[in-house]
């Protein structure tokens, strides 16, 4: 796990964790630890998810109806909650992604105005 030096890691922006969870779940249903691992690995360990903060986020998404869960047994025969996207969550993911692209683009334009010229 300690593959990168601490100073290279970036704390997550407020609200982006939700987006990342939704994106991860688009690939299929999975349990909490796998989600955290997927986010870390997907960002080449740049994004640091304090794994604990995953749980309030998951519950927030459940409450909004964007994801749901099943009780299941995982590979090594352990009981775990398996989270998956709901149709509502799939729609929300599209909206959030669009919004993120706009935001990122806008910030990029401000930070690098030269690129436009």
């Amino acid at each position: 796990m300690p593959a990168k030096a601490d100073r290279d890691r970036i704390e997550l922006l407020q609200g982006t964790l939700d987006l990342l969870i939704l994106r991860t779940l688009r690939l299929g249903r999975t349990h909490g630890h796998a989600i955290a691992k997927a986010i870390a690995r997907g960002s080449d360990d740049v994004l640091q998810v304090e794994q604990g903060s995953l749980y309030p986020a998951l519950h927030r998404l459940i409450k909004r109806g964007w994801i749901a869960f099943d009780d299941g047994t995982s590979d090594n025969n352990r009981r775990a909650k398996f989270y998956y996207l709901t149709p509502k969550g799939r729609k929300q993911l599209a909206i959030e992604t669009g919004r993120w692209d706009k935001l990122a683009g806008a910030i990029a334009r401000i930070l690098r105005p030269a690129a436009q010229e």
Partner: protein, 866 residues
């Protein structure tokens, strides 16, 4: 949602699983197992915090804390079950009584009237502005004035006048009394009300000389025709007229109160005199006109009329009053008195609870200290104690509502007949909201003092001294202040109640001037045949003859207005009528029409001259009997017999005085006897062709009721009759004073008990707290007497301060009830001395009992208790 919330169930399990997986990953990455677990935990963060954050997604944290406090509170209440139950019951009584009184206040005073835009409905009344009747309001108006107002004003959408009374109506074969309201065309439009069945009056029915028509109430229709629709088209006989029923009003429409039949006024309006003030006026304001604007306009109009008709309208202004205020009238002050009294009771109950809780809080000082030591903040401790108080208050409120449901019914059943809208009284949404806010208020009132005190606890001190022996200081001062407040409030309530009791006693002992016991009254209406009154006179003469033959009848007579129920008054002149002076300038007297034998039946003494006899009839010289008050006012020392009197009752003919009778309180027991003129029934007309037959019986009068009623029915089925007793009629005059006196006495008694319980509680607590000190003193040789005095002096000091504050408060507040007092001043010294003496004695007793117990303790036992 509930399914989703299930996600919370295994959060522990989920987190544990997560950490195990991470540990496994770390091991796979080559860490030693222990280090792997440590790193996994580190990466996860604070498990407890994560759990709490996750929980907070679903459950608000504040709510969570609250739930915890409530759990603690319930546990604490279970620990002290007895004291808690007593406290809750006391509060429940207080809240219940307040809720019951408020539900009456709400329905009668606060709830808008059940009509469309009720605040636009107003009454028009006179106000005399000059002369000796200055400031006197008169609700009865004359038709010519009304017609002028109607034609000259622009403030109103619709205007109507009406008069209401119990008269004889035939719906079937037998005449009965019904409340008939004679109205003008726009009456129902003022209320924007429509019949539920049938239609409103047509213009033709309501105009002068028209056919006339009747609209009946839902209750009357059901009583006489089975169901409302079957009443349509039926005929009612009202006096000599037959009118058909064209509509039935919905049950909610009840104005004026208890009306059975609304009947269109069809008499000739031109003949009505400008001084014939026999009607009440109501109107609906136009949407854009305020009460003040209407008032200004009516003032201008009435000033104009004053110049045009100085005889009758000079110095008479018109007031515009919202109907709701008018209906409520004098009941308002009584209801607010009751609400104030019952609120005081609740305050005292709160103070008692606070002292109880303070004692409990002292016992819990070690517990609070432990909490504070473990890091609970002051505000958290205060909050927890307040939650405890609220839980008790809410429990009390729940029981209180049950008490209120019962109490409201009792209040309505006992209340005097002049309280309007009682059928609307009930425990409804607004009342429950009131109760809830009361609970919150109350929990702060009695919960805050002990809570603040607990928060002041010094963490170390009570823990060091495990026995918690800290006497004196701020704690006991709070408690004593509360007891002082209790005593003071109790004095205010008890003094008010005592004043009202003394008034009521005085009212019931007021010399009436007649003997009301064993007198039966039979109201009877015998309609004349057109203008021929011989039918009515013959009926009463015959019935009086029949009745006096009955066994058990001592004397019988008949009169227009029995004592306490004057039907008419008018000005009078002695000897001759002055040419210039108007009738309104003459001295006033009550006017009555009586049959021979009436004075004997009532027990009114004949001071001079004679009673009427059968020879005083039409065609014979006009004679009259006056009372002593009139003899004093008009003749001073001279002999009135044989002098002539002229009164504007039904004619201006001179009448010769043949007798003088004793005074009676003809306007009810609260008012001194006024001048009165009695005229023989065979020579005059009487109001609505109605007389009250007065029968003095040898024994219980009600036993004779049925046979007297039968005698009347045998004479004529067209005559409606109603039998009651003179005592029952008089009771209506004291009904209101009796009601408020009873309630206030009840509240005063409760306040007294609560205050004494407070004194006793505090003294018992102090005695218990100081038992060791007392034991030491006694072991060292102090006498029982000096120890007793030590204890007593403290209680006496509290009592003295409380009584002083109470008397000052009572002097200030009883001024508010001075209008309800009869022959007693609001600062009556005897009453105050009695209240102070009584309360002082009781308080002394409440102090003495625990003090004496303290001196009887075995010193050794008390010291060994440790």
């Amino acid at each position: 949602m509930t399914r989703d919330k299930r996600a919370l169930d295994d959060v522990d399990q989920d987190i544990k699983d997560h950490i195990e997986r991470q540990t496994q990953d770390n091991i796979d990455a080559g860490m030693a197992p222990e280090e792997a677990h440590r790193q996994a935990m580190l990466n996860f963060g604070n498990v407890a915090l994560v759990k709490e954050d996750t929980r907070a997604i679903w459950v608000s944290r504040r709510l969570d804390e609250m739930r915890q406090d409530v759990r603690y509170a319930l546990r604490a209440m279970r620990r002290t079950r007895g004291a808690t139950m007593v406290g809750i019951l006391v509060m429940a009584l207080g809240i219940g009584a307040n809720t019951a009184v408020f539900s009456v206040v709400h329905a009668v005073l606060l709830n808008p009237l059940p009509y469309a835009d009720p605040d636009r409905i107003v009454t028009l009344t006179y106000l005399s502005t000059g002369g000796n009747a200055s400031g006197e309001r008169s609700r009865q108006v004359s038709v010519p004035d009304f017609l002028d107002w109607q034609s000259q004003s622009a403030s109103f959408d619709s205007m109507a006048y009406y008069t209401s009374g119990r008269t004889s109506v035939m719906a079937g074969s037998v005449a009965e009394y019904a409340v008939v309201t004679t109205v003008t065309e726009e009456f129902f439009r003022v209320f924007a009300a429509q019949p539920s069945v049938g239609r409103s009056f047509s213009r033709e029915e309501a105009t002068e000389g028209g056919a006339g028509a009747a609209i009946i109430s839902d209750g009357y229709a059901r009583q006489h025709f089975g169901e409302p629709a079957r009443g349509l088209g039926r005929t009612l006989r009202l006096g000599n007229r037959s009118v058909s029923i064209v509509g039935v009003m919905p049950p909610a429409f009840d104005f004026p109160v208890a009306t059975d039949v609304w009947f269109t006024a069809v008499g000739s309006r031109a003949q009505l005199a400008r001084r014939g003030n026999n009607f009440r006026a109501i109107a609906r304001l136009k949407a854009e006109v305020s009460v003040e604007q209407a008032h200004t306009e009516m003032t201008e109009i009435s000033e104009r009329l004053g110049q045009l008709y100085p005889d009758t309208n000079k110095n008479v202004r018109v007031i515009v009053t919202p109907l709701q205020r008018e209906i409520v009238g004098e009941v308002e002050s009584m209801l607010y008195l009751l609400l104030g009294a019952v609120a005081l009771v609740l305050l005292i109950a709160c103070a008692t609870m606070a002292t109880l809780l303070l004692a409990k809080a002292t016992a819990r000082i070690p517990e609070m200290a432990v909490r504070a030591a473990l890091g609970a903040s002051r505000s958290r401790i205060v909050k927890q104690l307040l939650v405890e108080a609220s839980v008790q208050a809410l429990a009390a409120g729940t029981i209180g509502v049950l008490i209120a449901i019962w109490g409201t019914r009792t209040l309505v059943a006992l209340s005097p007949p002049d309280v309007p809208r009682l059928d609307e009284v009930g425990v409804n949404g607004s009342v429950l909201l009131f109760t809830l806010s009361l609970c919150v208020l109350v929990s702060f009132l009695f919960g805050l003092p002990p809570a603040l005190q607990a928060a002041r606890v010094d963490v170390t001190e009570p823990l060091r001294l495990s026995t918690g022996r800290i006497s004196g200081g701020g704690r006991s001062r709070t408690r004593e202040a509360l007891v002082v407040a209790e005593i003071a409030l109790a004095v205010v309530l008890v003094a008010t109640a005592a004043l009202l009791v003394r008034s009521l006693v005085a009212l019931q002992q007021a010399p009436l001037g007649f003997q009301p016991t064993n007198v039966l009254l039979m109201q009877a209406t015998a309609r004349p045949n057109g203008s021929d009154w011989s039918v009515s006179r013959a009926f009463f003469e015959g019935v009086l003859g029949d009745i006096s033959q009955l066994p058990g009848v001592v004397a019988a007579g008949a009169m227009m207005g029995p004592p306490g129920d004057v039907k008419s008054d008018s000005g009078y002149w002695v000897d001759r009528m002055p040419k210039e002076s108007p009738l309104s300038a003459a001295r006033p007297a009550a006017m009555n029409v009586v049959a021979p034998g009436t004075f004997a039946a009532l027990g009114i003494p004949i001071r001079q001259g004679r009673d009427f006899h059968d020879g005083d009839r039409g065609g014979r010289p006009q004679v009259v009997i006056i009372n002593e008050a009139l003899a004093r006012a008009a003749f001073r020392q001279r002999d009135p017999i044989g002098r002539v009197i002229i009164a504007g009752f039904d004619s201006m003919d001179p009448m010769t005085i043949v007798g003088v009778v004793g005074d009676v309180r003809q306007y009810g027991p609260a008012r001194e006897p006024q001048p009165e003129i009695y005229m023989p029934y065979q020579q005059h007309f009487y109001n609505g062709a109605t007389l009250f037959v007065v029968v003095r019986t040898a024994t219980e009068p009600t036993a004779l009721g049925p046979s007297i009623e039968r005698k009347a029915r045998e004479r004529s089925p067209d005559v409606s009759v109603r039998v009651t007793t003179l005592n029952a009629l008089l009771a209506t005059h004291v009904a209101t004073p009796k009601f408020r006196t009873w309630l206030l006495s009840l509240f005063g008694a409760v306040a007294l008990c609560l205050a004494m319980a407070g004194v006793y509680g505090v003294m018992a607590f102090v005695a218990g707290q100081r038992s060791k000190e007392i034991a030491v003193r006694m072991a060292l040789g102090a006498g029982a007497r000096s120890v007793l005095w030590l204890m007593l002096s403290r209680g006496l000091k509290i009592t003295a301060i409380g009584l002083t504050a109470g008397v000052l408060g009572a002097i200030a507040s009883t001024r508010l009830v001075s209008g309800m007092l009869f022959q007693v001043q609001s600062h009556d010294v005897v009453t105050y001395a009695g209240v102070v003496g009584g309360l002082g004695l009781l308080s002394l007793l409440a102090t003495y009992m625990p003090a004496r117990r303290a001196t009887r303790l075995d010193p050794l036992l008390a010291l060994r208790q440790e």
